[in-house]
């Protein structure tokens, strides 16, 4: 809860610490090296990512994604070490994503982590993907105790810290917002390069007609599946023109649909975030996750924050979109609190709620 400053249980580093972070819970494979120095600074030495991009109209399948991660793992990790200028021997711990995420891709990266751990005799630290996002966001932006909106392909959560736990105040009752956007991008055949969400954002800038869509907030939760069905229905409406048209005709363009989808879904997200902020009396909001790089979402959040005299913290695509460095950051924090994951317990889990993690490093 805000207002009460307690002493952090994390002791100052007695020396420099280095962590390798490996992430592969969805279609991004990432590796990063984080350094925590004696003076308290956290430095990103390297942060390398390779994305598995599928053709337009297709999503990424677990099996193919896992294959991609296996093919690229060595190159990405090598690049990451080279860029950082460190060798595996200098690393203190190997952090990997334990979950949540897609099973096969998670496992392929965990396998790499275990192998490295045995080869170089380094301890493993399993990291919750969502906590990785939050810790990286806090580190980069300097937000102290924000309400966190975590929005990505697999997650939609409103989170706030309370008593060594990232408590989930609100979340999606069905599909995640990124999933909703990605699936719609597939319906209208948008490119997956660099990401479907990015392309929706660009198309939305050209849309001007706001079409009615179900607006489903329920307390601090949202429901998004109804919106996806409703927006899909517009693509078979007789006014729908995939090729576009002039402004004054009574037609619906893909750009209008992208615009309407963003306006509606983001309004819902900002609303539940504001409700959480009002509930706990917070004056900070941090947006993390891939969808968090959307500028319209950041803008809407900014207006909301301004009106309640609060501040928005957001990161750019390097840290918003899944990456290895965030896993290194969260992993190193728990490693410094004495936490290690024994080999026998280094399995992955597709379901791993944010609030299950004991946030030992915060007061």
């Amino acid at each position: 809860m805000p207002g009460k400053a307690r002493k952090t249980p994390l002791k100052d580093a007695d020396r420099d610490y280095l962590a390798l972070g490996l992430e592969g819970s969805a279609n991004k494979l990432g590796a990063g090296i984080m350094k925590h120095s004696k003076d308290g600074a956290a430095t990103v030495l390297s942060n390398i990512r390779h994305t598995y991009i599928t053709p337009p109209g297709e999503g990424f399948q677990p099996r193919d994604t896992a294959l991609h991660h296996r093919e690229w793992a060595l190159k990405v990790i090598n690049d990451c070490l080279t860029k950082a200028g460190v060798s595996m021997n200098e690393i203190d711990c190997i952090c990997f994503t334990k979950g949540p995420g897609m099973g096969a891709p998670l496992q392929s990266v965990a396998l790499v982590a275990r192998t490295l751990s045995l080869m170089f005799n380094k301890p493993l630290v399993g990291v919750n993907h969502c906590v990785g996002h939050i810790e990286m966001g806090r580190e980069i932006t300097g937000a102290q105790n924000p309400v966190v909106l975590y929005v990505s392909g697999g997650n939609t959560q409103v989170i706030a810290y309370s008593r060594q736990c990232y408590r989930i105040f609100g979340e999606t009752l069905d599909i995640a917002v990124g999933n909703c956007l990605d699936r719609f991008a597939r319906i209208i055949n948008l490119s997956n390069d660099p990401s479907p969400g990015y392309n929706i954002e660009q198309e939305a800038k050209k849309g001007h007609r706001l079409l009615p869509l179900p607006y489903a907030t329920k307390g601090m939760d949202v429901s998004l599946s109804g919106i996806l069905s409703a927006i899909e229905a517009y693509t078979v409406d007789k006014r729908f023109r995939p090729e576009g048209g002039t402004k004054d005709e009574d037609i619906i363009t893909p750009q209008d649909l992208c615009f309407s989808l963003q306006e509606t879904v983001f309004a819902m997200l900002v609303e539940i975030t504001e409700r959480a902020m009002a509930h706990i009396g917070s004056k900070e909001v941090l947006i993390v996750g891939g969808v968090g790089s959307n500028e319209r979402l950041q803008q809407m959040m900014g207006i909301m924050a301004q009106e309640r005299e609060a501040r928005v913290f957001a990161t750019d695509e390097r840290f918003c979109i899944d990456n290895g460095i965030m896993i290194a950051q969260a992993g190193l924090l728990s490693y410094r609190m004495g936490y290690k994951t024994p080999l026998a317990k280094s399995s992955c889990t597709q379901r791993f709620r944010t609030d299950e993690v004991h946030v030992a490093w915060r007061a």
Partner: protein, 258 residues
């Protein structure tokens, strides 16, 4: 006239509080009128204006409909006194009394406070003024929620702040009745219609959490609430009880694939 009727009314009203979505005022339509509570859903500039206007209108309509449905079914809720959906204003009956939160130990504390050891003795005395014991109050709560659930209205935000014990003498009490107060359910801003036992169970669970986070040693109190509820729900109770046990185990949320 440059300023709308409702805006002018708001300007001549007494501000009470401001939440995330609405500002609350105490107002009078005319100097000779009874006081009313205005709930002003002000514009949200982050939302597209068209979306914002539609949303405000539908939420005010939804809240008003839930209130009327409850009123018609004899549930103690505030009556509706004005609606201006275009301006985002809902006016309801002003209920003279205290919130249950304030009347129970621990509730006088500020929201979000970690420390609830400072039990306010003065407020317990307050409850005596209403002529009811804590047990009776708990039963009143259970009964009123049950009556609401019987007509398939789900409140959506049951807390001890959203219940008011009416000041004796501020309304017509039932004749031949010992209890001279009534428990009034307020703030139907998140309410909806549902026949599902699941939704009713979640409604109860939300209240249970509110009890435990606000009032120390709330367990026996909440048990009395459920007893009052069960009595009214009769045959419908076992299914809801079953659901409530489920919800308590998993929490309000389902586990989710990342």
């Amino acid at each position: 006239m440059t300023i709308s009727i409702s805006q002018s009314l708001i300007q001549s009203s007494l501000p009470i509080s401001q939440g995330a979505e609405a500002k609350v005022y105490k107002a009078q339509l005319t100097p000779d009128s009874p006081p009313i509570l205005l709930k002003y859903r002000f514009q949200k500039n982050y939302r597209h204006p068209f979306l914002d206007a539609n949303l405000t209108r539908s939420r005010i309509a939804g809240e008003a409909r839930a209130l009327l449905k409850c009123l018609r079914s004899g549930i103690n809720v505030p009556g509706i006194r004005m609606v201006d959906a275009t301006e985002g204003v809902l006016g309801i009956e002003w209920i003279e009394g205290h919130s249950v939160r304030k009347l129970l130990p621990g509730g006088a504390e500020d929201d979000g406070s970690d420390d609830v050891d400072n039990v306010d003795v003065i407020d317990s005395v307050n409850l005596n003024e209403y002529g009811v014991s804590v047990d009776e109050l708990m039963k009143l709560i259970g009964v009123e929620i049950a009556k609401m659930h019987q007509v398939d209205v789900i409140h959506g935000d049951l807390t001890t702040s959203n219940m008011i014990l009416r000041q004796p003498g501020s309304f017509v009490p039932p004749q031949n009745h010992d209890i001279k107060t009534a428990l009034v359910l307020i703030d139907f801003g998140l309410s909806y219609q549902s026949t599902l036992a699941e939704d009713k169970a979640v409604d109860l669970y939300v209240l249970e959490r509110a009890f435990s986070s606000t009032h120390p040693d709330s367990e026996p109190m909440f048990a009395k609430v459920l007893a009052g509820y069960a009595e009214i729900m009769a045959g419908d109770w076992p299914a809801i009880k079953h659901r409530l046990d489920d919800v308590r185990l998993r929490g309000r949320k389902r586990s989710m694939v990342g």
